[in-house]
């Protein structure tokens, strides 16, 4: 998501219901009406009791955004860390992202897209409080200072707390051009402050979507088609209704729902359902057939999406070819998907951990036959998102609305883990075929990359933003391939757009996990073919790419690249840019019983200014773990149209004993912040695969690595 708009900032202040100050900055709304002053929404609420609340439009799914965003605002407001509380925002165009006309959390865009906005919001609120204090104390504004949530008259020492000033501040005209602090004056930005959400996440009190408890709440599960695209032909609910606790059985668009007084009864009721299905689009589909078909198609030219120079006229040299296949992947967040709905005379309340508030609100409104303003999305903590809770089709919200509509009481619809693993919306399966011609000096004269992959945005509103009208190919299918950072004069990237009936979705770092595995494995292959060190080879080809170079050199240096390792161990490297940031990773591996074991990962990230270096490092560590699960084990396969995996036994993530030591280093930078949540994921698979090649001279052509025999 890269469409950056020019921000038309304007500030609106209004008295909050608490008698305090509410301040918001509206963003340009593309394709929608600008909010009127009566539906002002705000980022800052200062109660007359002195309590400062930050109303956050972004979803907290573990990435630490509540913390990082609050840090920016609190710094400009001269608040002590810990004096600001955080609350999730309702849906309103005022909260739309600066990257798209909607409220969402994704694309590693929260800090990059909110940094200047929140600096200005905080600084403007601070200025209003200073003006109010000047009037209150009868002194010039220039004689006042702010610190610790208090305005102080420097000469006399007289002071007033923000709480006592809030009501007056709310009546003042909002200054138009307040200058945020100079970086040298930052007290909170740039520091590894503790998270704002830790307490509730250690005592069981944090409210995830699945934890909503409303008066009269019922619980539902849905039986869905065993093959994608299937519809209910008929069903027999008698046995299900006989299960104690089951209250209702109803057909919904995606299957048959069982509503009960508790989740267990709903699960048992579902098990007793008899459903006949028809018309599955994915009937007979198998991953093996898909893989073979993709491999064949990748040998054909495809639609050229990026080209420079002339690949055919590049001259003769040592020719290399490499095929790299990646599987479907489920996101499998620890909190299974769920959403609760409560219909009332006032409309519809939806309680959900979502990354896609506007999309989900609109989908719920459409399905419920309500105007959008009658639907309220209450964003809860997300027990992991990784993209799965950002669905353009709002699958789990639509289902919950369909289940709860007409039932008369609130209903929480829960997916079991099996529903989640089998439920589609996967990272697309893909095939990459790369070729290179190396010149006498070992450097690539020509490079081609041909992919076969589904488009995530097919039939979604994102097509207008992300599909290249010239080629008909969406840009995220080949992201990470077209932006090849290495100096190659003759380059061609081509895509075969696949149209399988398997629902696909963005999975932490989207197209990059596929392309980075292929590109960073293949450049490694080129280095070895040229008999050059993989780090030195990359450095030579990264001329003019200072951020890549800085990250690569930092990671290699901290990892002790080139220094001896114990027998049986080897290192591998990868560097990849995504979401505006660059991450390099060096993995140290061995084989234990013939199976890959990753002992240590040293990473370096250039993400511009690190608002919270502690959380930046922790996100890279998180991305390494998430990516490592996929590298070693993760795959969703179909056989005869059905998903073969079901739970964590056959879709296993990395566990405690397999977690490598992870060191993360941050490239010092004062540039504008860039993405953090996702960019650590793409390099881990190629770094590990390259290390295994260094150890065994076996090149992994396919993920997960469980398919490759290294011994």
């Amino acid at each position: 998501m890269s469409a950056v708009t020019t921000r038309r900032d304007f500030l609106i202040a209004a008295g909050a219901a608490t008698g305090g100050l509410v301040l918001g900055i509206t963003l340009p709304v593309r394709g929608g009406a600008a909010p009127s002053s009566t539906d002002v929404n705000a980022y800052v609420r200062i109660g007359s009791d002195g309590k400062v609340t930050f109303v956050v439009p972004k979803s907290e799914m573990g990435q630490g955004t509540y913390t990082g965003l609050a840090q920016i605002l609190a710094d400009e407001l001269d608040l002590d860390w810990g004096a600001i509380s955080v609350e999730s925002a309702p849906v309103n165009p005022v909260y739309n992202s600066s990257f798209a006309p909607m409220q969402f959390t994704g694309g590693s865009s929260s800090i990059p897209g909110s940094f200047e906005l929140l600096r200005k919001t905080g600084a403007t609120a601070r200025q209003l409080l200073v003006s109010a204090a000047a009037a209150e104390l009868g002194v010039p504004e220039a004689e006042l200072s702010t610190a610790h949530g208090v305005v102080t008259h420097r000469a006399s020492g007289r002071h007033v707390g923000y709480g006592a000033l809030a009501a007056r501040a709310a009546t003042l005209p909002v200054p138009a051009n307040v200058t945020p602090k100079a970086p040298a004056d930052w007290k909170l930005i740039g520091r590894p402050l503790p998270r704002v959400d830790t307490q509730g996440k250690t005592d069981g009190s944090a409210g995830f979507g699945i934890d909503v408890r409303l008066p009269g709440l019922h619980y539902a599960v849905i039986t869905r088609a065993p093959s994608f695209g299937g519809k209910v032909a008929s069903f027999d609910a008698a046995a299900a209704k006989a299960v104690p606790g089951v209250v209702a059985v109803k057909e919904v668009p995606s299957g048959v729902a069982v509503i009960a007084t508790n989740t267990w009864a709903a699960i048992r009721g579902r098990a007793a359902l008899k459903v006949e299905w028809q018309g599955a689009a994915a009937a007979g589909l198998s991953s093996k057939t898909i893989a073979a078909d993709y491999a064949e198609r990748a040998k054909q030219p495809g639609v050229v999406v990026h080209e420079r120079g002339n690949v055919e006229g590049a001259g003769a040299g040592h020719r290399l070819e490499g095929d790299f296949a990646t599987p479907f992947l489920a996101h499998a967040p620890m909190e299974p998907l769920n959403a609760a709905v409560a219909f009332s005379d006032a409309g519809l309340d939806v309680y959900v951990g979502t990354q896609f508030q506007t999309v989900d609100r609109n989908a719920a409104a459409e399905l419920a036959g309500l105007p959008p303003e009658k639907v309220r999305i209450h964003t809860r903590f997300l027990g992991g998102g990784f993209g799965r809770r950002a669905n353009p089709f709002s699958d789990f919200v639509r289902e919950a609305v369909a289940v709860g509509r007409g039932f008369g009481k609130p209903v929480l619809t829960v997916w079991t883990r099996e529903d989640d693993v089998k439920g589609g919306y996967y990272r697309p399966q893909a095939h990459n075929r790369l070729t290179a011609t190396l010149g006498a000096d070992g450097r690539p004269l020509a490079w081609t990359h041909t992919q076969v992959i589904q488009s995530i945005i097919r039939n979604t509103p994102f097509e207008a933003m992300m599909r290249d009208p010239k080629t008909g190919i969406d840009v995220i299918q080949h992201e990470g391939a077209s932006e090849l950072p290495y100096k190659v004069a003759n380059l061609r990237v081509a895509v075969h757009d696949s149209t399988l009936p398997v629902p696909v979705l963005w999975w932490r770092s989207v197209g990059h996990t596929n392309t980075a595995f292929a590109v960073e494995s293949f450049i490694d292959e080129c280095a070895h073919a040229a008999h050059q060190d993989p780090v030195a080879y990359r450095i030579a080809l990264l001329e003019g790419q200072p951020r890549h170079l800085a990250a690569l050199k930092l990671a290699a240096d901290k990892a002790g690249w080139g220094t001896p390792l114990p027998k049986g161990r080897a290192r591998g490297v990868a560097v990849h840019a995504s979401f505006g940031s660059v991450v390099a990773e060096v993995a140290e591996v061995s084989l234990v019983g013939g199976r890959p074991r990753v002992h240590r990962v040293v990473a370096a990230i250039d993400c511009g200014l690190a608002v919270n270096p502690g959380q930046v490092a922790y996100q890279v560590e998180s991305a390494v773990c998430y990516g490592l699960s996929a590298t070693l084990y993760g795959e969703i396969t179909l056989a005869d149209g059905r998903v073969e995996q079901s739970n964590f036994n056959d879709y296993p993530p990395v566990r405690m004993a397999e977690m490598p030591a992870v060191e993360v280093h941050i490239v010092p930078s004062t540039a504008a912040p860039t993405g953090v949540g996702e960019p650590g994921t793409p390099p881990i698979a190629p770094a590990v695969a390259n290390a295994l090649y260094a150890l065994t001279k076996v090149r992994a052509r396919r993920l997960p690595l469980a398919h490759t025999t290294f011994a």
């Binding site: 573990g62 998270r195 005592d203 007084t261 989740t263 909190e335 027990g383 998180s622 977690m659």
Partner: protein, 151 residues
């Protein structure tokens, strides 16, 4: 069914085969204990039964007669539980946080049995607790921190 949870006795209108997890979450609104897999594969539902860590998602109510159940909501009332929670805060362990109730309950049980655990002890005791955010290394540090503190 009668069960003792966090020192309180509850009479539940529930079948004996109902897993403890759903009784806690849906009947008693003790939502700190999490549903992750329903098959004892992820550890998100870990609670203590007479001090031993068990997976509530596969523990039927019928197995709990005359036993005492402790959940994340009450573990902080014990000195060890408090110490572990404090260590979690000090190390800023949680990311999404969904698995952390189970992680903490497993960690408390480990430390109760093995006050100074080795890394290998931690691997063994915590390997059944999945985390998709990759907080394992900080969990390990937090357990060592809790173990190092005053008894």
């Amino acid at each position: 069914m009668r069960i003792d949870v966090n020192g309180q006795t509850h009479e539940l209108d529930a079948p004996p085969e109902m897993p403890l997890l759903w009784a806690l979450r849906d009947l008693l609104s003790l939502t700190g204990t999490k549903f992750g897999c329903g098959a004892a594969l992820c550890g998100a539902c870990t609670v203590h039964v007479d001090g031993q860590p068990v997976r509530a998602c596969v523990t039927p109510l019928s197995a709990l007669a005359d036993k005492k159940v402790t959940t994340i909501e009450a573990i902080g009332a014990t000195a060890l539980g408090r110490k572990v929670q404090d260590a979690w805060v000090a190390e800023d362990v949680p990311q999404c946080g969904y698995c952390q109730s189970g992680q903490i309950m497993s960690a408390v049980a480990l430390l109760a049995a093995t006050p100074k655990p080795t890394d290998e002890d931690i691997n063994t005791a915590l390997n059944g607790n999945l985390c998709r955010c990759g907080t394992y290394n900080r969990i390990r540090k937090a357990i060592h921190r809790a173990a190092a503190g005053p008894a």
